[in-house]
Symmetry: C2
Subunit: 377 residues, 2 copies
């Protein structure tokens, strides 16, 4: 995997780069739609490529390990073939889901034991088993197995957890060195900075993570309920330490405004369920603010969902009244159209950010746009 930094904004730390994987190039900054179970919910792979213009998608190790399971995944020849997506894929380590979804979890030095949220069956995830699973899934970028401490956590808990994540990281690095990709493409490991909301721990964690000299680095444990100013402060703190010549991935963030603020602090990659999950509940992001399309005020509004030329073609074609109707009726097409809308919006925002970084107009553009994004329409 190669990362080429094309330009850094002179007044902020925003960067435009190109990440090259065996499944193609990714122009950064980038947002990665979440495809938990081998599908971005409600969006077919062709639409994902042609309409949303996704360049890389995310799969969830925990979910794919439980369903369809690794026997099926291996027989398919990996996730790319299983789901019919030939672009780059990143998989998380399963760590976050073990802590947020699974039952009866227990953390030891070895790893985390847990009971499946589906059938209660008992499993162990360790640095080695998580990466073994990620070898079988075959993502282009695989994530180190970490513990994500909840917010708030005591300093003592955050510190102990951070050290465990660091020891697990050493085992992840060893496992990757000692194993081969299962398929014909290469896989890059991204370690994850932890340390909760404690600046000194974050500094220590960044230094340790940087010392491992992996192809890219991630910041975890944000967007877990901490105040937004904390998220921005820690993001900046980490970006100042993590090496400039490698991509920086801020995990699980966030709103469109969060993305722009974190791009300006030096982040290159994002993933988040917000645009797709909120879409299914009728919350649409636009350049003018947020539309709750279920709201009665849209019932008889026959203007396009979004007439911006970068909006999803279906959002330019269909009216607010139509989508309001579909959503209120619980129609499948509501989720499809709303998800297409939000994901296309997210991708258009990061694409535009990139262009403004290259043009040198990023700050002015961002300062103008951010206040509009959070308005309720």
């Amino acid at each position: 995997m190669q990362f080429t930094l094309e330009h850094t904004d002179p007044t902020t730390d925003a960067r435009a780069g190109v990440l090259t994987t065996d499944h193609g190039q990714i122009q950064t900054p980038i947002f990665m739609p979440v495809g938990t179970l081998g599908t971005v919910k409600g969006v077919h792979q062709r639409e994902l490529k042609e309409q949303v213009k996704a360049q890389i998608i995310l799969g969830n190790t925990y979910h794919l390990y439980l369903r369809p399971g690794m026997e099926v995944m291996e027989a398919a020849g990996g996730l790319h073939k299983f789901m019919g997506w030939d672009g780059p894929i990143l998989t998380d380590s399963g760590g976050y889901q073990v802590f947020s979804l699974a039952h009866r979890r227990k953390i030891t030095e070895e790893g985390a034991t847990f009971a499946s949220h589906i059938d209660g069956s008992k499993h162990l995830f360790s640095p080695e088993s998580s990466l073994g699973i990620q070898r079988t899934i075959g993502a282009d970028i695989v994530m180190a197995f970490d513990e994500c401490p909840p917010y708030p956590s005591t300093r003592q808990y955050a510190e102990k957890s951070m050290h465990l994540t660091h020891r697990w990281l050493e085992r992840c690095v060893s496992f990757m060195r000692g194993s081969q990709p299962r398929y014909s493409h290469s896989q890059a490991l991204f370690p994850i900075v932890q340390g909760g909301s404690y600046d000194d721990l974050r500094v220590k964690s960044c230094e340790f993570i940087a010392s491992q000299d992996q192809p890219g680095n991630a910041i975890g444990g944000l967007s877990v309920g901490e105040p937004i100013p904390d998220m921005y402060r820690i993001t900046k703190l980490c970006c100042d330490i993590l090496p400039k010549e490698k991509p920086r991935y801020l995990m699980g963030v966030g709103t469109p405004a969060n993305l722009l603020e974190c791009i300006s602090r030096g982040i290159d990659m994002f993933d988040c369920v917000l645009p797709s999950r909120n879409a299914r509940h009728g919350m649409l992001y636009t350049r003018d603010g947020i539309i709750n399309i279920r709201n009665a005020k849209w019932k008889n509004d026959h203007s396009p969902i979004d007439d911006h030329p970068a909006a999803a073609p279906t959002s330019q074609l269909h009216s607010k009244a139509y989508l309001c109707h579909l959503l209120r009726c619980g129609e499948l097409l509501a989720g499809q159209l709303a998800t297409l809308h939000n994901l296309t919006f997210y991708l258009s925002i990061v694409r535009e950010a990139r262009q403004h970084i290259l043009d040198g107009s990023f700050t002015a553009w961002k300062e103008n746009l951010v206040p509009l994004l959070e308005r309720k329409l």
Copy 2:
């Protein structure tokens, strides 16, 4: 509306024709996907046109009257504009739904009063109000308001009900003569033959319906639970009486085999929820038989869902294992892919039937195919 009969099969009564509406031509025999609430569940309009190759779709008057309601429909400029579908549309009269879905229904000479299945609100459908609603929806083909007797019905009930349907038809014809289309395209009325499972009533009903000299004719009250041989016998009986130079529409039928058998008896148009509803439950129709894709036997089968060149592109691209996984996980994409599959299959079957009618090879083709269609794979 114009109907041109291109060819009639020499050994059966199968016909190939062209139906011309202000929204385009329809090559018959044709299957009409059901778009109850202004959407064919899980299929976007573009896919419906480009992948399924639908030539006409059906909307439900009862459902659209309740949601979004006629105020929204009129403000949208009719259903074509509301849903963004510029091809032909047919609407049923609401009669069938009043009898199958609504609560506290009461039939009088005037019409049918009923309580909405959504909020219990009270409404009256009459021949005039049903067609008034259909004027507002703006379908190219509108259906007469009828009573659909349940199966089984006594001869007395079926006869009384048939006469009521006939009297209502006269009011429908008057209403259409005395009113104008609300939009710039014309609307054709199709009357509906009733009479239950009683051959003599069906004969009487066909003669009455034919005497009204409307642009097309429909056969109702079949596929309501009667034995399949009865459906075929009555279909033939009706086709022998209904005028040859007008399209014949068999309402609510049926399986792929039902379609072929009824095409061979002289039917030109079909609609049915089977392919779309069964798709959402994982039942897929193919040229080799029926696949229940939820079944564990497909979990690790990585062959295409259907590799026939006329199958949906997504069925040729994706594996049985992938669709099995999506369906078992309750993923939205499962419904999308399965519905695309079944509807594309139905449309390919009627397209192929048409080609064989024109070629003179219909009977041999049908006799060979029908036994395969009903096998469980």
